[in-house]
Every structure is written in structure tokens, then in C-alpha cells.
Chain length 242, copies 2
Amino acid sequence: MTEKALQQLKTAEIEKISHLDYFNIGITVDCVILGYDEKELKVLLIKSDMQEFSGLYSLLGDFIKPDEDLETASYRILKERTGLDDVYLEQVHTFGGLKRHPSGRVITIAYYSLIDIRNHKLQLSHNELHWHPVTEIKKLAFDHRLILDTCLGRLREQVMEHPVIFNLLPEKFSLRELQELYEAILGVELDRRNFRKKISIKDWLVDIDEMENNVPHRPGRLYTLKKQYKIKGSGTKALALH
Amino acid sequence: MTEKALQQLKTAEIEKISHLDYFNIGITVDCVILGYDEKELKVLLIKSDMQEFSGLYSLLGDFIKPDEDLETASYRILKERTGLDDVYLEQVHTFGGLKRHPSGRVITIAYYSLIDIRNHKLQLSHNELHWHPVTEIKKLAFDHRLILDTCLGRLREQVMEHPVIFNLLPEKFSLRELQELYEAILGVELDRRNFRKKISIKDWLVDIDEMENNVPHRPGRLYTLKKQYKIKGSGTKALALH
DNA sequence: TCAAAAGTGTTGACTTTACACCCATGA
DNA sequence: TCATGGGTGTAAAGTCAACACTTTTGA
């Protein structure tokens, strides 16, 4: 970007500041990658490799490349770390505090993504990635605890209005699984009969006329999300669908 | 930021990319400054000074300085342009498309802010700032139309749950003014009796035992927002209050 | 005395909550 | 035959939407 171009960028008369002043800021994307397993909501974390945070975990993030937009960067991180490329992603908030990164000024754009852990067992052993139950997380590196909490808050806001959490479940699931997932996310117990009524009113599911098996009790019916709601990728589209 | 520091920044093993590749990206804050006057929601715009967008208006924005965080930058823009420093501000979304700025790669963090136009008549004549009714806006420079629509969408989501729109009104206001403001933001007509019931349930207002004057009809009672909700500044705090 | 808006309640429709019993299956 | 969860309905409480008349003021 030339000095002249920089000038043009300004949409108003402001005092001039040198090129360097403006651009000596790092921009990253951090992904809160959420999965659901063993009746718990889990987040994918990596052991921090910074001395300041030794022993702590951090979210998965990376610098944005000059030729990729924000969504592309988040997808790349997900693809590199999980091997998945058809995930649900939603931008949540941008964090830009001066002291958030010990090595310098870094602004990060936070996304959360929802993936089906069980159908995509990752090869986690060869690196430092681990799934952590969100309820057990205390301190994280950087301001990642704040980022995590912000994303979980957003997820809770979305969950009853929009069919997003199906991205955490296998293609076919029982109503009990679905209810347990809601309970894990919202942190409350739900009444089974009322829950089923509420879900059936939303008209999100198709009864595929199959039954659970390998359960040590009466098998439940299996359902799948209606095709029209199966929107992977940026959540803005999902929102538009209502 | 040194090359060494840059290395440290990486929270995972990724291929190395030069300093320049990472940092040749501009970061701005764009403010959707909203006001309410003549029963219309209005947004403060400036005539674009870029040839590509000649004749079009754009939002108010500026580059972030290396030593200011995101909120500080938005406040600075507001202060510079409106003279106000006790405004409501909320971060909405970050836009980072590759082609969104004709002069190069610019990522922008969008905020909306709500101000009381009538009590703070700005000196708008000496520059190119103008208030535009949001319903009359068609094309804007850059992707600013998208940014505006995104912010208005967020405002509509917030408006019934959180006491934010009082920032658009004078200290004292009548229930009719408040209702008209809701109608302008939501784009619907509301039933007066139901509206008053709904508002009184929320318990946001204090009846200050004063009356309108200079109205050509029976004066209405004046109310003011309860002190505990008068939160200027970042909306995250307002949200926490429920 | 007119025009304009203030102020105020009720009914019916709908939604939400609380709650309990019998059934199907695997161990 | 037992343990586990599957599957289902109803009544009471609360919320939401529709709707009209009298009052107060200024012009």
C-alpha cells in the first residue's frame, strides 16, 4: 500500500500519521472450536508455547494472511487443526486491548465453530491439541478466557432461536441426545415433555423412521435436521433463515 | 514489533511468513452514529472524498492508532466529529473482505453509537457532515451500506431487551416520544395501551411528576430512565445488567 | 367547540409451566 | 423382573393482541 493510497483511505480530514504507526499491529483470528461428547460441551485447546503462559492452554488462532478474508482465515485454521472443512462458523467479537498480547499489539477477531466430534475423530495425538470440558476451564493464556466466555454467551443467545447446535450432533440423533445437548449448553435441566413440544413447534426436524440401537434401554426414534436448515459456514446466512 | 516477538506470537507451528506479509493491512474503526429527530432515525454521514465513490456518502471512520484500543478509537472519532464524549457505543461486527477498500487491504471494526441529537446540536456546517434519515439511504461508499444494515439489525435485536434507546432521547421524555422512537427503529406501528403496559413491566422509567409543555394538545407526563440503567460507553456493561 | 393526544381495562387466544403414568427394551 | 429411558396429555398461570371511550389542553 503506497503512501498516496494511504492518504486516500482517509474518509475525513484527520491529522497525518506515518505509515508505520498505522500498520505495526498484528491481526489474528481466534477460533473457539466447540464439540459435544460424553454429555459435555468441549472446546479444542492447545498448550501455549509462550513462556509467559507456561502451563496454560490457549485457543487456536493464527495471523490473517494479506490475501485471505476473515472467514477464509478461520476456515484455514479449522482445516489445518481438525481436518474439517464443512463446519459452522460465526464471528462473535473483536478484541483489541493494548496489553492483551505480551509481544506487541495484536488485534484478534474471535469466531466460534461447532463440529461433530464423534464422527470426526481428529488425530490429536501428534500435536498438543486437547478437548477440554468448558465447565472445567479456569485460566487460559492471553485473554482467551474472556474470548471463550463471550463466544459461549453468544451461543446461548442463539441456541433457542436458530437451528445451530445440530452441527454438534451426528446426522441422526434422538430427542434425548438433543435435549441433553441443550442442557449442557444452557446449564439448566429441561422438562422432557415440554422440550419435545417446543422442538416440534419449531419444525426443524424430520422423523427418519429409524431407531437407536445399542442402547441399554428402549430405543428412541431418530431424527435429522431438515435440509433447508443444514447451513454450514458463516452463521449470518443461518440467521437470515430465522 | 521485532521479528523475534513475531515468532513468539504464533501459538502453533505454522509456516513462516515475512513481517511485511502480515502487517500490510490497515485497521480502521467505522462508527454508525445514530440520532433521532423529527420522528426519524438518522445516521451521521460524510461525503466521500474518494474518486471511486464520488457523490456518495460514507460512515465516519479512521485508522486505529498503535497506542489506542478499539473503544478508545471509536470514542475519539465520536469526540472529533460530534464533540460528545459520553455516548453509548457498541461493537457490532468486523468486516474484512479483500476488495472492500479500493486502495488496499483494510479491515474495519464497526460500532454503532446512539446520541441525543437535539440536546447536542453539532456544528455541522463547517464540514461535510450531514444527518440522513436511515429510511432514505440507498447507496453508500465502500461496503458501508452493509455495515449500516448490520448495525441497524443489531439495534433492533437489542431494543426490546435492553434499555439502550434512551440514549437517543433527551433526559426527560414522554411515553409518546418513546413509542414513536420504537416505531421508527422497528418499522412497525405499536398499540399505545399495550406499549405502555410492556414498558411499565420492564421497570426502566421514573415518573418525574412533570408535564410536557408547548405542545398543541393535552400534555403528557414526563419520564426519565432509572439511574441504574444510565450506562454510557461500551454496551457490554449494559448487556450484563439484563 | 374543535382538534389532538393523554390516559386507562377487559376479553380471548396463545404460550408456558408443572406434573405422572404406562411402555419397550436389554441385562 | 428390573432398570432405564421412551413416549404421551392436561390444567392452571401467565403473556400477548385486539380493541374504544372519556379527559385534558391549546388554538
